[in-house]
């Protein structure tokens, strides 16, 4: 059994899970929702084993390091954290239908990684040879994943809120009845960001600590740093929006979606379009 085979199994599991969630949404058959969730859990398990195995494989090759060192590995890890955060949310709240809006993000990540990126295990360049790599990447990506889940929930919120505003269309009502009430969606959105924001903060701080240790500058307004701060500003605005009149509900949902768009730009856009210190994005 190799990690590469397991990653393919993972991708297939996430695809199956997503399709099951879609059918569940359309058919409202409860067993399908359970089946979709179980498939997602199995995928998560396979991926966890695969990540551990890839870690071991790198040691077997004599270039041992945590599998978080290039674009492929980070995208795989991102998909893993998305499903992990979603699984935790499911254990706590059991709103199955959310899976239909979260699993596509995980599948997109895995499919892109497996089909479009260089999957080879590479030795660590000197700049990445530090324990900070692990702390920095893990905290950042757990934060990103929580924002991905919040984004999925916000999309549901907007669909549901729009539908509630003109709920004459009886045909759609069946699907809508599957959605949690908008009050609950609003709360879940907040809960997810409440998990993501401290993690992003820790991610930025560990990044600053590492930069200071490696270069003697904790903040240099590098595009990656700046974009992480932009993301931080957007979610800080989101958190303050909840206690500001006129900003609750739809506007907060939009802030959450914009926040995730900024997150994705911070993660991928900066590497693909701008130049800076985090050059793994160029290494296709």
């Amino acid at each position: 059994m190799t990690s590469s085979l397991l990653f393919n199994i993972t991708t297939f599991a996430y695809l199956t899970s997503m399709i099951l969630f879609f059918i569940f949404l359309a058919s409202r058959a409860k067993t399908l929702g359970t089946a979709a969730m179980i498939t997602a859990y199995l995928g998560l398990l396979a991926q966890s084993v695969a990540i551990a195995l890839r870690w071991k494989e790198s040691y077997d090759m004599g270039v041992g390091h945590a599998p978080l060192s290039n674009l492929y590995e980070s995208v795989v890890f991102f998909a893993w954290t998305i499903v992990l955060i979603y699984a935790l949310l499911d254990i706590k709240y059991k709103y199955r239908v959310i899976g239909a809006f979260v699993m596509p993000f995980a599948l997109l990540g895995m499919a892109w990684a497996q089909l479009g990126l260089n999957t080879g295990i590479e030795p660590l360049v000197p700049a990445l040879q530090s324990n900070w790599l692990l702390y920095h990447v893990v905290t950042c990506f757990l934060g990103y994943a929580a924002f991905a889940v919040a984004c999925g929930i916000s999309i549901m919120y907007l669909i549901k809120a729009n539908h509630d505003a003109n709920d004459q269309k009886t045909g759609e009502a069946s699907v809508m009845s599957m959605f949690p009430p908008i009050r609950v969606l609003d709360d879940l959105n907040y809960q997810a960001i409440m998990v993501g924001f401290p993690l992003l903060t820790l991610g930025i701080i560990t990044g600053a600590a590492w930069a200071n240790y490696a270069w003697g500058t904790y903040w240099s307004w590098d595009p990656k740093e700046t974009w992480s701060l932009i993301v931080w500003f957007v979610y800080a605005a989101f958190l303050h929006a909840r206690i500001t009149k006129g900003w609750v509900g739809k506007r907060a949902a939009w802030l959450s979606i914009i926040g995730f768009a900024a997150t994705i730009f911070c993660y991928l856009g900066v590497n693909l379009f701008l130049s800076g210190l985090h050059s793994y994005g160029g290494g296709k």
Binding site: V63, E122, P123, V125, P126, A127, Q129, S130, W132, D187, M194, F197, P198, T201, L202, I205, A208, A209, N212, Y213, A214, W215, G216, T217, Y218, W219, W221, P223, T226, W227, L229, I230, F233, V234, A236, A237, H240, A241, I243, T244, W247, A262, V270, L274
Partner: protein, 458 residues
């Protein structure tokens, strides 16, 4: 006369205390920060300036876009944000402080109606023994209650983690502490860069302000080396450094290994491995196409020299053994860049053991000179980032406070329970400053257990 003035100050105060200002500032900072990630900061490279029109360059310069994070308007926004969060804290803190230090220990009817969680347990016992029971129960299951008696009615009040209401102010304070740390760094710290050739030493460094700084000691590079992985990727950049005081090596600071991610700190000044290169001379012979007029040429390190035909040349990279890059070839080779007199630039490889390739290259490019590589002196230099930042500890303190504060602000809540015992009837009310859902469950659980506790042995 004073009224308009007071009104003005009042509305100014309200302006700074408003959350709308917070939203505006956070979103403005987010949007404006994008500019500096798109436009290169500091000294923009020539190629970039060539791309955009002179009018644009002038506009960007006027607006401070080439150093936007230090521009007056960006700093102003940061100051406004700081004023905003200080004002908000000052406005709300006294009220919060009162809630924490002077809790309402008696549940009035008005308070009872405002509470999200209420329950009543009927008990036929007398008030006093029931009170004892409830006190014991709350102490064991929730928190030690404050007991008050008013006209034969017992009032109990118990609370958990009231101080977590302060956490949000700690987060705000942490932002200010980080700003202070950054200011200390920019006022009394410095950043610089120094190159040291093998065997050489430095005791003075140039600051960015063009001032020279005497280190008070000297730093000698004993050796620099690069290790590579089997696939040619760099594995380690290593400088062996010795600190000298009055020309003598300092014990414990002799032959220190400095690699990327493992710097050397001496007397508060830290040296970080940053770059490297060849400081030795490269040797070439330059001649006409037919081999006439040979001239020997040496190029020192990164510098460039003029060739007889008016073009200039510098070395980009050199190797002792070219076979690892071009199998089938052997011996030393150098990658050089040639800038011709008419402004063209080209980069190519010249060899020591393959003069025919050098001639062939020159032929293909018309009239240019033939360049033969003759080898290089082996002398590396290391490039070290030098920094001293006494503000760093303050910044870390701020970061630490921020993390603790955010954790407490999100995941802890001030939970309060009031109990009123009157004529054998126990009325319980409770609320939480956050996470109402979780508190509701806790509250219901408490009420259930209290009910069974009170009715257990009648």
């Amino acid at each position: 006369m004073t009224t308009p003035k007071r009104n003005f100050l009042h509305s100014l105060w309200d302006f700074f205390c408003s959350l709308k200002l917070t939203m505006f500032l956070l979103i403005s900072l987010a949007i404006l920060s994008i500019i500096g990630t798109v436009i290169p900061q500091g000294v923009p490279p020539e190629e970039y300036l060539a791309q955009i029109s002179p009018a644009k360059i002038k506009l960007y310069k006027t607006l401070g876009f080439f150093d936007m994070y230090h521009s007056w308007w960006f700093i102003l926004l940061l100051y406004l944000l700081t004023s905003n969060l200080i004002s908000c804290s000052i406005k709300r803190l006294p009220h919060i402080w009162k809630i924490i230090t002077l809790p309402v220990t008696i549940m009035s009817d008005g308070l009872e109606k405002s509470l999200a969680n209420q329950a009543t347990i009927k008990s036929s016992n007398e008030s006093t023994p029931v009170k004892e029971r409830v006190v014991a129960f709350l102490s064991a299951e929730f928190a030690e209650p404050v007991v008050t008696e008013v006209d034969g009615t017992w009032h109990l009040f118990a609370q958990k983690t009231p101080w977590c209401r302060l956490s949000v102010y700690f987060v705000h304070l942490s932002v200010i502490i980080i700003f202070i740390g950054a200011m200390i760094g920019s006022l009394i710290g410095f950043k610089s860069f120094v190159n040291i050739p093998e065997g050489g030493s430095v005791s003075k460094i140039m600051l960015r302000s063009e001032k020279e700084l005497d280190l008070g000691f000297s730093l000698r590079l004993e050796k620099f080396s690069v290790a590579k992985y089997a696939n040619g990727a760099p594995k380690e950049f290593k400088s062996i450094l010795t600190v000298l005081e009055n020309g003598k090596p300092v014990p414990g600071y002799t032959n220190v290994r400095v690699i990327v991610n493992d710097p050397l700190t001496y007397k508060g000044i830290t040296f970080y491995q940053s770059s490297y290169g060849n400081a030795g001379n490269y040797f070439f012979t330059v001649s006409d196409l037919d081999g006439k007029n040979p001239v020997s040429l040496s190029i020192a390190g990164q510098s460039s020299v003029n060739l007889p035909d008016g073009s200039s040349m510098h070395v980009m990279e050199a190797t002792k053994d070219v076979s690892q890059f071009s199998p089938g070839l052997s011996g030393p080779a150098a990658q050089v860049e040639l800038h011709t007199a008419d402004g063209k630039a080209e980069s190519f490889v010249v060899y020591a053991n393959h003069p025919e390739l050098n001639i062939q290259h020159a032929r293909q490019h018309g009239t240019g000179p033939v360049i033969h590589f003759k080898g290089a002196e082996e002398l590396m230099y290391t490039g070290l980032q030098v920094a001293k930042d006494p503000g760093v500890e303050v910044v870390w303190l701020g970061c630490f406070l921020m993390v603790i504060g955010i954790y407490a602000a999100f995941f802890m809540s001030h939970r309060r329970i009031w109990v009123r015992i009157q004529n054998g009837s126990v009325t319980i009310g409770g609320n939480a400053s956050k996470n109402q859902g979780a508190f509701q469950q806790t509250f219901e659980g408490l009420v259930d257990r209290l009910k069974s506790d009170l009715t257990k042995e009648k």
